[in-house]
């Protein structure tokens, strides 16, 4: 309990001082940003170097480092490094596409809900119902309907995140709609579309950016979990979750088949999380 008697410093810096301090060097922004950039590079350029994830060698289950395979090989003699790089590509692809669609549709719904009361009442009830499901359960239920495969995973993650983006953008959009400049735009004869997407959207953008980064890290986890359960990406396609799933039966004899894909997932989630947090902290300090 001695730990709980600590005195604290009530002499807080002003927001301005903090923001000046922040702008100098933001370690987490740099760390998260470079990790994400590194993974993107691996996902985009990696497959150009390591061309064929299905190429089999005669070295089955080679441990890391043996026979020139940096991360070893799997039970079919395929290079684990190549498969992880392709797995990163698939996982990022799924996350970016699904979260991208969910963001565009969700934010549009949020914006129109801020504009029209009737639309708000109708569509937000539907969004509330979708939010009433635990996210993972909803994703599993959708996978049961659409069947395994990359497209199915994209659909599932999109439907799970659509209501979240609608929710997140609706509240600040409603707040913006009460501002005077919107009234001024109206009297100048600006169309609804122009007001919503040109003015409201640009003002609520920071909130959405933070959500985007965190949603992508969640999407990577959901993809991994679905594929791990055998409901998502299925062999021979490689995704980070699928690699975990197919490595699991060999876990006791060849642990690297589970360890490396797990580390790759953790790094991807770490990157997007730290980046999202860093962006949020900058915004919070500037009072946005």
């Amino acid at each position: 309990m001695a730990l709980l008697t600590r005195k604290f410093d009530t002499n807080n810096k002003t927001e301005r001082q903090m923001s000046v301090h922040k702008r100098r060097f933001d370690a987490s922004l740099w760390f998260g940003g470079s990790l994400v950039a590194f993974l993107l590079l691996l996902g985009i350029a990696g497959p150009l170097v390591f061309r064929n994830p299905d190429e089999m060698s005669t070295f089955y289950l080679a441990p890391p480092g043996a026979h020139g395979f940096l991360l070893g090989t799997d039970q079919f003699g395929r290079s684990e490094l190549t498969r992880i790089i392709w797995g990163i590509r698939t996982s990022l692809e799924i996350s970016f596409i699904s979260i991208g669609i969910a963001c565009i549709l969700g934010v549009s719904i949020g914006l129109f809900a801020a504009k029209s009361k009737a639309f708000d009442m109708g569509i937000m009830r539907i969004m509330d119902v979708l939010l009433a499901f635990p996210a993972m359960l909803l994703a599993i239920g959708i996978m049961a309907m659409v069947g395994p495969g990359i497209t199915g995973v994209i659909e599932a993650i999109t439907i799970v995140y659509l209501p979240i983006f609608a929710r997140v953008s609706r509240a600040p959009a409603i707040e913006q709609m009460t501002r005077e400049y919107i009234e001024a735009e109206h009297s100048l004869g600006a169309s609804t579309i122009r007001i919503l997407f040109r003015h409201v959207l640009t003002n609520i953008w920071p909130v959405i950016i933070i959500q985007l980064s965190l949603a992508i890290s969640d999407a990577i986890l959901i993809e991994a979990a679905l594929s791990y359960l055998g409901l998502g990406v299925v062999p021979p396609a490689a995704s980070l979750g699928e690699l975990l799933a197919s490595g699991q039966s060999l876990m006791f004899t060849d642990p690297w088949l589970v360890v490396f894909p797990g580390i790759a997932i953790a790094l991807a989630v770490l990157g997007f999380n730290v980046l999202g947090d860093a962006i949020r902290d900058r915004g919070a300090v500037r009072g946005q």
Binding site: A132, P134, V259
Partner: protein, 316 residues
Amino acid sequence: MRQYIVRRMLMTVPTLLGVTIVAFLMIHLIPGNIVQVMLGTRTDVTPHQVQQLYQLYGLNQPLYVQYWRWLMQLLQGNLGFSLRTGLPISSLISQSFGVTAELAVGALILAVAVAVPLGTIAALYKKTIWDYLARGFAMFGLVIPNFWLGAMLVMLTSIYLPVLSVFNYVPFLTNPLLNIRDMIVPIFALALSLTAIITRMTRAAVLETMQFDHVRTARAKGLRQFTVNMKHVLRNSLIPITTIVGLQFGYLLGGAIIIENVFSLPGMGRLIVDAINQRDYPVVQSSVLFVSAIFVLINLVVDISYGFINPQIRYQ
């Protein structure tokens, strides 16, 4: 207060109805229908028999009639029957839900017990080694997928702690000690990321509360630092912490579903995934519906408890 509770309960009704509609559509949007799934590739069935099956399941009725009938059955507690075993789904669920509930509640208790002190210490010792350790741990917990951690723990316990690696579920009431022995590792795997989230939340909440005027007043009037921290800071930080714990319960239910599959525990997650693999759609539908309904009801309880914690909420 009573008015607030009634209003909040009434608001739950449309949500629950919506959940039943989504669960109903889930099974009707799959390609083909139950009868086709049941028959599979069998060719020894006459069209007349197929017609009779359609009638039996009410599939020749319009969709809204089917929904209405299904809903009426639900309200009478009839969740339907498994296509594969013919057993009533309600009995399958009652066998499985205990495991899931134990996992989720156990993880919740473990997470709160670790995270609240940890987060408080991190906030009181802001920018010291304690803070960095706590935040490092929280970041670690957040990025490690729980099922991967589970798999790693299965592997590590089997080598170093074989006692803990017998994942052979024994109900708590049959043998509490054996039950705890088998559940402690899965509960730990499920609790880690929640612990991380609550630690971060507690830290943020305590840091915010420390800046309030009433805390300065408490210090100014000469209260002991410990009293200030416990009674004035931590207590007022509990509202956002309760919120996050309530919100995260759905995450726990979802996580339990995956963790059960890692440790081969016979809970709702296993029931659902096995049913999906066997294309036993009624079981999938009713299980998803059941877990979601539980989630909605938990949210209701959390909302009502806010009314007690924070009187302002009652009047909004």
